[in-house]
């Protein structure tokens, strides 16, 4: 009779799959010096920036596409992509919202991100990136009054060249790996944040990434610098239209925390995951790395990964400053044919450094979900500690979960603690909740949200409720 069938799948409704009908302007397809020069000139970049890009491109020519992810990745023809797309006639970034194309405002409205400051979520400043350009940044002036710089990176390159020059590529070397190098050559837009000494940023800063144009890659570049004694909490969100093609999002995100500074970086990633047969969806190949440069500094990553056909990323911390702390809290949900290979690296260089990893992987449908992590204690990282907890939850019987935790301990006085569990949502749990009046979907969502609770509660309050809903929606259709 009432058999709970967890192997039934129906297409979940991806609410953000619409396309904004707006004329775009693309530069010709392909990857070459001319394209890079064109991107640089579109952004009115100074000469040094162009040279930096070209140097990256030179290195790229001799680099191989990495293949080691536990994922089936279709070959990408890098000459058959558009590297830059912007709304037509978008020469300069609009000075005020009145100058922004209403269609763009409407797009963000539909995504639940009102850009008009009086309508915006109180206490959250937003930078809205549409394909390759930032279309609006809210509360900029207000933040400016206390010395906080929050603007598109293209603007920072022009207006704050010393800061950008000093820190760009300082955490992720230009030559790090293929996708990081590719990003360095062709990056388009992303956010730039600078928090001055001893300033606690009074608002949540956030960037909302939207891919709209087809056959276009998005190459986000974000750089956040927290000067001595400062604090900032930053959040990014991402969505894209439903298309049959796979689109590439290859981002580089660099964080630098100086003495006694703290950066909290949260991601709610909801790129289009592809359809129920695994057609289409975003390839989310992202390099995120934070440097705890100063003593007593702290960087905390929180990620809720529900979208993308393939998620391949390891937000990491280099704990160089003595007494610095790195944290990684992750929920990665895969359904249907989605693939995720994600985790973190904690590199302990300084004395008394601490790191904490909490990873929750949830797999449903025919998906594959891998946690991959590295904890490394350098010889000089005396008295350092790591705690790692990796939990996997399986929904149904056709999905896969893997845990690959690597550790390298070269310090005699440091210690590691590792816990890992794999569980299935039990029929008893579902039946218990259903006996109290919850239907199968509600029951599953309650149990899964309980499983993720430790991570979800790391999110800024304004986004925690949304994230909970997203967790439920992502698994829709995985119980019958």
């Amino acid at each position: 009779m009432n058999k709970i069938n967890k192997d039934n799948f129906k297409q979940d409704a991806y609410k953000y799959g619409f396309v904004t009908e707006i004329e775009d302007e693309k530069i010709p397809k392909g990857l070459n010096e001319d394209v890079i020069k064109l991107i640089s000139s579109k952004k009115n970049e100074p000469e040094w920036m162009l040279e930096w890009r070209l140097a990256a491109y030179e290195r790229l020519k001799s680099m191989e596409v990495p293949k080691w992810a536990r994922a089936n990745i279709a070959d990408i023809d890098f000459q058959d992509l558009y590297y830059y797309s912007s709304p037509k006639d978008f020469k300069d970034k609009p000075k005020s919202l009145e100058e922004v194309d209403p269609k763009l405002l409407e797009t963000y409205e539909k995504l639940g991100i009102p850009l008009k400051e009086q309508e915006a979520l109180a206490g959250v400043a937003v930078d809205a990136v549409f394909d390759s350009v930032s279309v609006a940044t809210t509360f900029k002036e207000k933040l400016n009054e206390i010395g906080v710089i929050f603007c598109p990176i293209s603007e920072a390159i022009q207006r704050h060249p010393d800061l950008v020059k000093k820190y760009i590529g300082s955490v992720i070397p230009v030559t790090d790996h293929f996708y990081a190098t590719l990003n360095s050559a062709v990056f388009s837009d992303g956010s730039f944040v600078y928090i001055p000494k001893n300033v606690k940023c009074p608002m949540e800063l956030s960037t909302y990434f939207r891919i709209n144009a087809s056959e276009t890659g998005q190459f986000e570049r974000t750089l956040i610098i927290a000067d001595e004694g400062s604090y900032v909490s930053y959040l990014e969100g991402c969505t894209a239209p439903m298309r049959d093609e796979n689109q590439l999002h290859a981002a580089n995100v660099e964080l630098v925390a100086l003495d006694n500074a703290e950066i909290k970086y949260s991601t709610v990633q909801n790129w289009y995951p592809g359809d129920e047969d695994g057609k289409g969806g975003i390839y989310n190949f992202v390099t995120k790395r934070g440097l705890c440069k100063g003593k007593n500094s702290k960087i905390s990553w929180t990620q809720i990964e529900t979208g993308s056909a393939i998620t391949w990323k390891y937000p990491s911390c280099i704990l160089r400053g003595d007494n610095s702390t790195g944290e990684f809290y992750s929920v990665a949900i895969t359904n249907n044919h989605q693939q995720a290979d994600t985790g973190t690296k904690m590199i302990h260089l300084g004395k008394n450094t601490k790191s904490r990893i909490v990873s929750k992987g949830i797999s449903a449908g025919k998906s594959s979900n891998t946690y991959r992590g590295l904890v490394n204690f350098h010889r000089k990282a005396e008295n350092s500690k790591n705690f790692t907890q990796c939990d996997s939850l399986l929904v149904g019987s056709s999905c896969k979960a893997n845990t690959i935790p690597l550790t390298e301990n070269n310090s005699n006085t440091s210690s590691l603690e590792h816990e890992a569990t794999t569980s299935k949502i039990s029929d008893d749990q579902l039946f218990y909740c259903m006996q109290r009046g919850l239907d199968a979907e509600e029951a599953q969502s309650l149990i899964v949200n309980g499983f993720c609770k430790e991570v979800l509660q790391q999110l800024p309050m304004e986004f925690a409720v949304e994230a909970q809903k997203l967790v439920s929606i992502s698994l829709e259709g995985s119980v019958g």
């Binding site: 058999k3 749990q429 909740c433």
Partner: protein
């Protein structure tokens, strides 16, 4: 209220219930007693709609509806409550948010709006006080690390909250010490309002000393073999199940 007719139930290809008949009227308290392993809990699980409990023959009428055709959650919303012998743990889900969510599921099915947070807290405080449940318990995860007594009290709290018309209690006395048994029974007795019906499944007489049944049935070999009033329970307690 509830009428079970000629019911056959099998679990994993093994027939557990054979031609069971039972009628429970509004406000009546029925007890089913039987030896361990006789399958009396199967009745409870079948009525609640547990997956893999296959109804091979017969039917069950609950409030003039075909109970067997309904999903477990629909049975709950219709007013059937099963107090579990072993309440299930839900790690990461706080008891308060769980209680609120199940209450709201029932309110929604009655066409009511979700309960306001302040009002919910008021109701929760009042009902918890009646059961001697400290409010601190509601910030813990559902049943996780609860003592046997706390789990059973939490079941009784839920039946109080959801206001069901038929309460099935599956071995509620197991794992309770005398004090917990007494306070739990008192709380259950408060729910006896002359309209609500009870089906109490138990091995021992002791629960029935606190919650007095109107009818007692002896379960054996997949069916009811003897029925009577509460004196039947005392007789069984003295003579055991083997003696007729």
């Amino acid at each position: 209220m509830l009428e079970i007719k000629n019911l056959d139930v099998s679990v994993e290809d093994k027939q557990i219930i054979k031609n069971l008949n039972l009628k429970i009227g509004p406000g009546e308290v029925h007890a089913i007693m039987g030896p361990n392993g006789s399958g009396k809990s199967t009745i409870a699980h079948t009525l609640a709609g547990k997956p893999n409990y296959l109804v091979e023959a017969g039917n069950v009428d609950f409030k003039n509806e075909d109970l067997i055709a309904k999903d477990p959650y629909e049975r709950s919303l219709l007013g059937l409550f099963l107090a579990f012998q072993y309440p299930i743990e839900l790690p990461g889900v706080t008891n308060a948010s769980y209680l609120k969510q199940i209450l709201n599921a029932h309110r929604k099915s009655r066409g009511e709006n979700p309960i306001d947070a302040g009002e919910f807290l008021k109701i929760l405080k009042e009902k918890s006080r009646n059961l001697n449940i400290p409010m601190e318990m509601h910030s813990r995860f559902v049943n996780a690390g609860f003592s046997g007594g706390e789990k059973k009290k939490n079941e009784v709290l839920q039946m109080d909250l959801l206001d069901p018309s038929l309460i099935i209690m599956d071995e509620t006395d197991s794992g309770l010490d005398v004090d917990a048994l007494k306070s739990t029974s008192e709380a259950v007795n408060k729910l006896r309002d002359g309209k609500r019906s009870f089906l109490i499944i138990t091995h021992y007489l002791r629960l029935l000393e606190y919650i007095e049944p109107d009818y007692v049935h002896v379960f054996g070999d997949g069916s009811i073999i003897e029925s009577g009033d509460k004196s039947l329970a005392s007789r069984i307690d003295n003579e055991g199940y083997e003696v007729k």
